[in-house]
Subunit: 502 residues, 2 copies
């Protein structure tokens, strides 16, 4: 009766049965269906109890913490803009609980934006080789617009006693050692702490930029403005991260903070645009191969350390999605694709896939790279490797635009997952294809906040468990590794559930 989807009788009881069946049929098609992670009856009971407890906390906090006025945050509510509400969110019991939840795999992140800016600055300040320069002397009027550029210099080029970047004698674009620039930062601009605030601010997006400055102009232009800011944060941080003495420590911090957040496996997009990073000697001479060796070393070290603590279930491993940026020419792409194949051959356990990143609305669409991309698949066959595409696509409000059309190319090229892909809602055939082929969409609720986040009555603890399991399911792990990761996750999940009920 439900499957015909119209109820023809007039009997209320029969109607209610048909209604329940239709609701069930509908929910079964949703990825966030109420799933359970076990068939063990006792565990099921526990999970249901824990779910009730979390719902009660959610309801209580909705009625208390979210109804009070908070300084600087007018009219807070649970679904408000993340960056504005963050300060309240992190104080909730719900946040504390979910921080501890075992989350499975992190499938979408850009390495250069994973570590807290404050931590990165701290790492940088330990490096005497690091220097900073600006296009214009930093004053009250330029501090909001001028960005720092960082790089490590060879020892014979160190500039320890040059005028600081706020000094009247500072010459635009001249390098100043980081320590000097910080120590001599104009007291009127906050001195060394003012320097820290300015550097950290240049690597972060604040709520005003996210929701006002970059958002009030035009909905369509908003995307372009916020992308500019995204890009500038990457540009600033790259100068610090792509330095051999910092890179391994950065990776280590990334793994550590992921583990803290309950993530047990990572596939990180690393941007390989620069062909070399800067070595300890200040020369740009460390090739991609060495980046992977550093990555692998830190990975092994962290795994050994976790095992020694009896916490091996909490960290299964990490892989790299080799990425470059959509502004290169198709000819330049050839080089990166060959490089990627070489790396995959040497580090088969590290290279998870290939992606092209950057603002789809402004940069080249996938179709422009079709020749090298098709050839890439051919070359993989010849070399006996398998490097799935894991493309960003359809991260756009456009309809029928080149950025929107990227979805067709990503899918035709057999992409394993789609980064963002929210433009999919405009394409019934492509949605069907993703469903049939099991192509996962990497959704970042905060990055996609433009679509307005709204709490659902249907999501509960088991939905979150299902999402975590899905994340492992859609990773590039081999079947055996996947089973291992799933089992480790299940053990963590059971601990988490019991913990909630204590």
């Amino acid at each position: 009766m439900a499957s015909s989807s119209t109820f023809s009788g007039s009997d209320l009881e029969a109607y209610n049965a048909a209604r329940a069946a239709l609701i069930n049929e509908d929910r079964a098609l949703r990825r966030d269906r109420h799933a359970t992670t076990t068939s063990d009856e006792e565990q099921l009971q526990l999970e249901a109890q824990a779910d009730l407890r979390v719902r009660a906390i959610r309801a209580e906090e909705a009625a208390t913490i979210w109804t009070q006025e908070h300084e600087n945050i007018p009219h807070p509510f649970p679904g408000m803009e993340f960056l504005t509400g963050r300060e309240i969110i992190v104080k909730t019991k719900l946040f504390e609980i979910l921080s501890r939840m075992p989350k499975g795999a992190l499938l979408h992140c850009h390495l250069d934006a994973t570590v807290n800016a404050q931590v990165l600055l701290k790492l940088a300040l330990e490096q005497p080789a690091l220097h900073v320069r600006v296009a214009a002397r930093i004053t009250h009027s330029t501090i909001g617009a001028v960005l720092p550029e960082f790089r490590a210099l060879p020892r014979n080029e160190y500039s320890l006693n040059a005028p600081g970047i706020t000094d009247e004698l500072y010459q635009s674009d001249s390098w100043v050692s980081l320590a000097n620039a910080r120590a001599n930062f104009d007291v009127a601009l906050g001195g060394p702490e003012g320097f820290d605030r300015w550097v950290i601010g240049s690597m972060m997006i604040n709520p005003t930029e996210a929701y006002k400055t970059h958002n009030t102009i035009k909905k369509v232009e908003w995307s372009a403005r916020i992308w500019e800011k995204f890009q500038s944060t990457f540009i600033v941080s790259t100068g610090l991260i792509r330095f051999a003495p910092i890179f391994p420590e950065y990776i280590r911090q990334f793994f550590r903070s992921s583990i803290e957040d309950g993530i047990s496996y990572v596939e990180a997009r690393i941007n390989f645009l620069y062909k070399h990073m800067v070595g300890e000697d200040g020369l740009e001479n460390i090739p991609h191969r060495d980046w992977l060796i550093m990555f692998d070393d830190v990975l092994n070290e962290v795994k050994v350390d976790m095992k020694a603590q009896g916490r091996e279930d909490e960290f299964i491993g990490a892989r790299i999605i080799y990425s470059t940026i959509r502004f290169i020419t198709p000819e330049e792409l050839e080089w990166y694709l060959e490089d990627c194949i070489e790396l995959k051959k040497e580090f088969p356990h590290l290279i998870a896939g290939f992606d092209l990143v950057g603002d789809e609305n402004e940069l080249k669409p996938l179709i422009d790279y079709m020749e090298p991309l098709l050839r890439f698949r051919q070359r993989q066959k010849e070399e006996g490797v398998d490097i799935p595409f894991i493309f960003h696509a359809g991260e756009t409000l456009g309809d029928g635009t080149p950025a929107d059309n990227n979805l067709f190319d990503a899918i035709l090229l057999g992409t394993k997952r789609i980064g963002h892909g929210y433009s999919l809602v405009k394409h019934p055939k492509l949605i069907e294809t993703c469903r049939q082929k099991g192509i996962a969409v990497e959704v970042c609720p905060i990055s996609n906040e433009i679509l307005v986040l709204v709490a659902s009555e249907l999501t509960g603890l088991s939905t979150l468990g299902q999402l975590a399991r899905d994340s492992i399911e859609h990773s590039t792990l081999e079947e055996e590794e996947k089973q291992h990761a799933l089992h480790a996750w299940e053990r963590q999940w059971q601990k988490f559930i019991s913990g909630l009920l204590e």
Copy 2:
């Protein structure tokens, strides 16, 4: 090859063919597919030329009128909030062209909000029986919050010389004749013109209310706030419209302005909540049957007049969707359903369907009315009439809430169309059902502006033609009437296309 949706070869030419096929397959599933309204080759050519001309105008205006700064409208752009950009929109050539376009059927409108508030006030001022009262004397401080209440009084209760509503002697809630209230409106508040502004303002939603006051609070609460304002505009205007000497003139203005907008057929939701309207004698004694007689008389008069002008293709007719509000009890609903059946029997050509209106997030869900609604279908069989449900449902941001669940009930009850229904995106099974059963979704882009309007590269003149034809297709007209309406529309469309090319 395209149907498998992954391209396996490495040949660029074959790839491009597979890509074109997949894009085509995807677009074919979209309702806004590029359709043509004729198979006549010559007409097709004309339509394509007209489409190019309109696209050129759109592109030109995007680069000119939309890039200039306008007083009071910072950063205008074509997809901006409608009420803010309206002033610019109405000056564009594109708007002028689309105003003239034959649009087919208007399937979603609430009668009480169809006629320009200024016109309604003008009609009201011609009626000496009409009086106004306010809950608090109108002063500088109350004018922004206090709403007028209107009603016609019997002649022996006329209050021509009482103190005006801004007068210090005014007693709260006492009736003052409209003419008196207007003539004696405090000069400091703008005098008679200040009165007009206040009354008109009480019946309209201004951009600040729509996008700021009612919108900045909370996304979720926004809906409730703006609904309050919607409701208050209805409450104010109802006192003027549900008055027998005004009602027919209001209907006439509604038909006239619809015709001006290129609409040739209307299915209007009329709220039958009040069982009587006020007669010329000031007594509340005009039953629903008389409302329909008035409606029918005006309808026939306008049709005769249009025919006399040789414009009969421009107005095919109008019908009523009998509506009441979701705050009544199920027992009360029984009365309205029987009333609706009685009216359908006497005016089969006027009653198009039945609906329940009002804020779904706050008022009763359909499931609460299931007994009378199921019985209604039974009673129709007994009486030999057919009154389709044409329900508002899923006009909500909720997920799994009662308002969201209304979609299940509307569809199980066999609704012919769904009003708004944007919550459908959360329900894969229901989307499929709507597609299979041809259930149209009545989408009002402005009412649904909360979802952000974005221009599509795919929509052109033929898309609009397709939407117009769809509107007639999904009306409640009988097959023969429908064919008549479609043919009349086709003639208008051809005229429109030729007009564009002159």
